[in-house]
Every structure is written in structure tokens, then in C-alpha cells.
Symmetry: C2
């Protein structure tokens, strides 16, 4: 079979690339070894959000109960929740399949292997298929990574994919790795009553974020009575007598019903014979140039190219590459600011530079301005007043915005536009923010007195 | 006493005008007859949001329970909630008072009366004060309006101010007037178990909104088993034997524990001797020119000038007038798009033109594009999938955005910026929206196929 475009991997990047290609009139095949939607839909963003959504009432009740304004009890029928998640995912995959069909995109189910120039073979359950392409997009995503000794065993030691499939929530959970994935999942377990231990080798949780954000998260986790163990090295994890046992490098042991290992994710590039087509890897990432190109007529987008591990970034790259191969652009890839969000309560959002990044790139003009959520009536209404919004300025221009606290993800799109449009002081009064709204805390932060970073 | 600027009314417009004036170096007095913060803080937006926030868990639990994912019960300690509201309001007023003091603004407590040119008198509890001004800003706001026969009696017939002060929630409530105020308050009563009857003379609820928004709200209220009585004229309301009794013009009677009359609000302009200073009124509103000026050196901002009844609009007007009197601008007042929000669940947001308004101004090029929330994973996560986002285009440019459904207020600031920046098709792909997010439904609506309005 002959295609204008073959895409390997049907996650957010690959699926969007296939759809965009077909919409532009290309004859497209999409190769997927497992499930439409990839990690994001099936083992990542979406199931976690369904868990968080289903348990929101617990968090809201907890906050009001602390104020003695509400009382009661909310219990989760976890098997029903898991069934609902699976039903939702299956429904979404079905809708995706229908969209492919409608657009005349061939779905080739199996592992794709690169051959010489312009050809791939796909090992499907009905045998091997060979197909040629004018352009190839590799969007094979990422998978959980493990340090030696931290590998999941599927019993009491789980990776994030396995954890999303548990039949019941543990009553105690150790999470190794205090990044967004570990924190979101731990929050759900916490809401459902689990005793949580969070452990990381770094000196703070969410180490990619502004240190003040990490501090705010840590103070929340402390209020929740989590054990947060920082600067601890884990020697290994094992299932022993139906319990997860974690051994620190000083030989101390910690035990829980389950141990979730979420120490990072790495590109999926194995078994595809990439080198056959001249695609090079560095530290397992596919190397791409400024056009996201990996070899002649071969592009790599999304987690696999190692630029950034976010679904919406993959999707944005997909649209760029399709524009490029259909001759709509010959400019190098520019993402603009890419927002990131931790969901739950508290939430974290960040877009553009952190204070530290801004300072490193221009230490003379970096300033920050800040607003506390405690001053916001919507945060007060939800009895969730911890947190802040912080604006990073460089040379009088907004270069980054981050926030932590109740519902701050809602600031994300406006913040992205503000960073993208490089607002200066004179832009702040242009837009009317609704009152009352949590969004006003962003306006307050933009207006607040600026402090020079030293 | 002599001031550069005297402001009458300490609601969002007046307070912000006083603060902005003092920050620009003016000697300012602020006149308030009741409480700092005015209606918005004390009898409007803020207490309602605290009620809605405190009862969010009930709504979230209800939605998940319908999916059989959660069960339980949440009860509200209403006296504790009311005490918390009062504590919050008092705390906010105290902070406002401290800000006035810090800025050297004199607070004159009492009713201000205009005299001849450049002078007012204030009847304080310690006697009459006379003060002169270079510029005067009238920001006296609005108050509930009543048709004859619909006046509150403070027993079972309440206006919105009184309703916010009830000691317990009624088990049945009739709300006369299906605007935002009535709907938000009725929702809180509904969450706390009240049987709600909503009655309006118009043929739909939220009659200022897009008819499709009204329809979506009505279908939610129907699911909640509210009695929604439309195109009904109320002859009168009375307290009879400890019950609220409503009589329709066909003599039918409906009874409930309480009746909330929320048929509209009108400017507060009485008792101030406005005519003495040449300030004219039309239908009780203070008439202003394109500079928000009512008479030489006298301006009127906020609800009292009848332009729009929204706190953030009043505040925006305040900043304009202070810029004007301090010589920073001599341009006429331009608000830009002013967003409006109905809070609760579902929420409603609107900014810019409705489809109908756009069609009336340019019937040849009006189009709409739409996305359903059912397709959004965050709406799915909260089991609240009813609703949509609708974009109104005129001549290929976004001129309005409205949405109804779970949490759609979060689209409001980005939508306001998009309308203000008059996005066209080519702008849509510039900004990366985070995935997953409810905000993506706005992106979907922007990208969706457009339908010509006929």
C-alpha cells in the first residue's frame, strides 16, 4: 500500500497528525500497536482526571467541614468508578476510530518497523503488511522509566499504568517520585482514605516548578499528614508477603499496601529499526532538527523527541509538521509558550519562564509580582485560601506566570496569552476581568508591586 | 473640609475611584451611608459565592451519585455558614477601611447631599459635615426594584438583600424573576433541599442571554424538578399565616415557605438633591455623556448611570474617570468587552455580542460555531456534560462568546481577550491550550464549522 503520510503512534500527537493530514487531502495510514489515544487517553491524563473529578466532592466537603460549615460523608464505589473510566475510554476510542474511518485514514494495528527509504512494515495480527510513504511521522510517545531495583512487579509494586488499573484503592500507598504524575495519583488515594508516603531524591516536591510552588505543595501535604521524604535514595522496592516494601539506601525500610513508582518517563523508540531509515537517537530520544525532522521525509513529534512531555505540545507539533509537509510553512518550529498543569486540589499552573530561568537569562531586569489567593473571595468561598499567583517580568515584560492553589488551572489560557503577547504594564488595564472570580488573582498579581530578583 | 475628589458610595466603583484618586496624589473623601463594599460585598456577589462555594460538594456528589460512582450525604450547618459569611464580609470591610486609612482617604459616614457648585453636605451620626470638591464622583449603585404588589414585607416576602440574611433555608421557595440573582440564590436553596418554583413574565429564563443558553438552563432546572413558570404575570405576593402566597393574574395561588422577589434592580439616586448641582436623571438613572460626566466636574459611575449593572464595569469606569480628572486621558470612555457570569452549576458566561445582536448589526455575515461540553473530558470527569460553547462571528471576526455548563466561567477571561482582540481564523492556532482542560471546549468551538445565521 502507498500513502502520502504514515504516522506511527495514535496518541495525541500521532492521531492529530493523521487527522490534520487527511483533512489537508493526504492519503494517510495510522499505525498503532495498542490502543487509539495512547498514554494520555488510556493510561495518563484522562483516567486521572476522571478519578479526580469523581472525588472532588470529598475535597470540597473536607474544606467546608474544617470551617464547620458542612458535615457528612462521601464514599466512592471504586469498582463502579473504574468501570465508568473504562466505558469513557472505550467510547472515546470508538469516536476516534469513527473519525479515522470518516476521513479515509487506514488504521494499521501492530508494531511498525522502518525499512529502507520510504517503506515500513507492520506486524499485525493477520500477518505482516508493507506500506510506503512520502512522509513519515514518528509519534510513539513515552513509557514509565525505572532505575534498577525500582521495576514494577505487578503485585504490590506498580507503575502509573498499572496503578490506574487497580481494583481497589490501597489503604496505604508509597509514591516514589514527587512529580505531577505521582502527586495527582497520590491525591486520589488520599481522598479515598489512604495513608500516603511521598518520597523523592530531590530536596523538594515538583522539582521542575518554582521553589515557592514546591513549598506551598509541601505545606498542604503536611496538613494532610502525608509523610514527605525528601533527599532520600531508594535502594529497591519489593513485594514481600503481600505488602510493598521499600528499602532506602541507608537500609531503612518502609512498608505499604502498594508502592507506585513514578520517577519519570522515557521515549519509546525500541524495536522499530530506526537506524535502517537513518533516524538517530540520543539517550533514547529521537534527534530532530529545528523543523522536527529526524531524517529525510521523517519527522518525530511528541514525547519521543524529548522536547517536552505534554499532550498539547505533541498535538501542536503535529499540526506544524503537517503544515510543513503540505507546503504551508517552511519556517522552523516555534511552539510559543507551552502551559503545564497539575490537577487536583491544590492545582499548579505554569507557563513561560520561571523566576530562576528568567534570572539566568537576564539577571539585571528580572522582577516578580505576586498575589495571595487568601485575598480572593472565590478561594475563600471554597475555604481553600492557600496559594498564590506569581508573575515573572524581564525587562518590563511578562515572561512567565505560575500559580498554586485551589482551581488555579483556570488561569492557564489567559496566562498563556499574556506571556505570548508579552504584556507590559500598560496592557494590564485593557482587559476587564469578571468580579468576583479567581481569575482576578492573576490581575492582582500583574498589578502588584514588583520585587527585583537578587 | 476641602478635597480634590469626593466620591459618594463605597461599592466596587466608588471604592476603587477613591483608592485610584489617592494613589494618583489627590486628597480624597469617600462618603458611604451604610457599609464599605456596597451591594456587591454585603448583599450581592460575595455572599452568594460563599453560599455556592459552601454547597459545591452537594452538587458534585449529586452528579457522581447519578453515575453510581459515589454515595453519601452532605449537610450544611446553615447558621455556621451565615456566621462565616458575616465574618468574611466584616474582615473584608476592615481591610478596606485600613486601605483607606493608609492612603489618607477620609471616610465620611452618612448620606451625602449635593449643594451648589462644588459642595456637599453629609449627615453623619455626629452631625452635619460640609465639604468642597474639585471633582465629584457619584457611585451610589442600585437597589432591588419592585412592581406594585411585589414589595417585600420582611416576613415571608423577601428581596435579595433580606434573603441573604435568612436564619434557615426554607424547605420551599418561590423565586419571582428568572435573572441571574434569582437563579443563583434558588440554586443554593435547591442544593440544601428546597423545592423551588421559578416564575417569570418572559418566555424564558435568563432572558438577557442567548435563547439556547436559556433552553439549556431550563432543561437542567427540569431535571432538578423545579417548577419553572414562564409567561406568568404575578398579581401580588403576601404573607398569610406564616406562608408566602403568590397570586397570579388569573387568580391562581401558589404557596411556599418563602418568596424571593428578584425582578430587577434600579439606581439609587434619591435624597441627594442631585438637581441642586445640575445633575439630571432619566428613569431614575443619572444621565452621563460619553465621558461619564453628569454635570461640570461631576461624574457618575457604576449601576447608578444605568450603562451596565456589573461590579467590574463600575470599577473599570472608576479608573477611567480618575484618569480623566488627573489629566491622563481626554478620550471618551470605552469599556471594551465586559464579561458577565452566572455562577453555580451550571454556570453561564457571555462576552461581546450575542448571535442576535450580531445579526441585527450585520445580518449578512453573522455566523456561529459551537462545541458541546459532552465531548470534553473534564466535563465528563465531573459527570456534568450538558452545555456548550458558542462563538459568534461577524465578517470573519469573533465578536462574541457565550457558554453554559459546568465550570464555564473559567473560559471568561480568555474569551474576553479573544473578543477584544477580534480574533480571526488565523489566530486560533497561535495559542496552545492545556490538555485536558475544559478550556479546550472554547478552542473546539473556535475551530468548529461555522453556520450562517438566518
Amino acid at each position: 500500500m502507498t500513502y502520502d503520510l504514515i504516522v506511527i503512534g495514535a496518541g495525541p500527537g500521532g492521531f492529530d497528525a493523521a487527522v490534520a493530514g487527511a483533512e489537508k487531502g493526504l492519503k494517510v495510514a495510522l499505525v498503532e500497536k495498542k490502543l487509539l489515544g495512547g498514554t494520555c487517553l488510556n493510561w495518563g491524563c484522562i483516567p486521572t482526571k476522571l478519578w479526580l473529578g469523581a472525588t472532588t466532592a470529598i475535597d470540597e466537603l473536607h474544606n467546608q467541614a474544617k470551617m464547620k460549615v458542612a458535615s457528612g460523608e462521601v464514599s466512592i464505589a471504586f469498582p463502579a468508578l473504574q468501570a465508568r473510566v473504562q466505558k469513557h475510554l472505550a467510547g472515546t476510542r470508538k469516536a476516534m476510530g469513527a473519525q479515522l474511518k470518516k476521513l479515509g485514514i487506514d488504521l494499521l494495528e501492530g508494531i511498525g518497523t522502518l525499512k529502507g527509504t520510504g517503506e515500513i512494515s507492520v506486524a499485525t495480527k493477520d500477518g505482516k503488511i508493507t506500506a510506503t510513504y512520502k512522509d513519515l511521522i514518528i509519534a510513539t510517545g513515552s513509557q514509565p522509566l525505572f532505575f534498577p531495583g525500582l521495576e514494577p512487579d505487578g503485585e504490590c509494586i506498580l507503575d502509573s499504568n498499572m496503578f490506574l488499573g487497580v481494583e481497589e484503592m490501597p489503604s496505604s500507598l508509597i509514591v516514589v517520585g514527587a512529580g505531577f504524575i505521582g502527586i495527582e495519583m497520590a491525591q486520589v488515594a488520599h481522598r479515598m482514605g489512604a495513608k500516603v508516603t511521598l518520597i523523592d531524591a530531590m530536596d523538594r516536591v515538583a522539582p521542575l516548578e518554582d521553589p515557592e510552588v514546591s513549598k506551598a505543595l509541601q505545606s498542604t501535604f503536611k496538613r494532610w499528614k502525608w509523610d514527605v521524604l525528601l533527599e532520600k535514595r531508594v535502594a529497591g522496592v519489593q513485594t514481600i508477603d503481600g505488602k510493598g516494601v521499600l528499602t532506602l539506601d541507608n537500609r531503612d525500610k518502609i512498608e505499604a499496601d502498594l508502592i507506585l513508582v513514578a520517577v519519570g518517563r522515557g521515549p519509546v523508540t525500541g524495536g522499530m529499526a530506526l537506524a535502517e531509515a537513518g533516524v538517530e537517537r540520543q539517550f533514547n530520544k529521537i534527534e530532530v532538527d529545528e523543523n522536527l525532522q529526524a531524517a529525510p521525509n521523517i519527522y518525530a513529534i511528541g514525547d519521543v523527541n524529548g522536547i517536552i512531555q505534554l499532550a498539547h505540545a505533541a498535538s501542536h507539533q503535529a499540526h506544524y509538521v503537517v503544515s510543513r509537509i503540505t507546503g504551508k510553512t517552511d519556517l522552523p518550529y516555534e511552539s510559543g509558550p507551552v502551559p503545564s498543569v497539575l490537577y487536583g486540589a491544590p492545582e499548579v499552573m505554569r507557563v513561560g519562564l520561571t523566576e530562576n530561568e528568567a534570572f539566568l537569562s537576564d539577571y539585571e531586569t528580572t522582577e516578580t509580582s505576586k498575589a495571595q489567593l487568601a485575598a480572593n473571595p472565590m478561594a475563600q468561598a471554597h475555604a481553600a485560601t492557600q496559594g498564590f499567583v506569581k508573575v515573572v517580568w524581564s525587562n518590563g515584560t511578562v515572561v512567565g506566570i505560575t500559580a498554586v492553589g485551589h482551581d488555579v488551572s483556570r488561569l492557564c489560557v489567559a496566562a498563556t496569552m499574556i506571556v505570548q503577547q508579552a504584556w507590559t504594564a500598560k496592557d494590564i488595564h485593557k482587559t476587564i476581568f469578571p468580579h468576583p472570580s479567581l481569575d482576578e488573582s492573576l490581575l492582582m498579581a500583574l498589578k502588584a508591586e514588583r520585587k527585583k530578583t537578587a
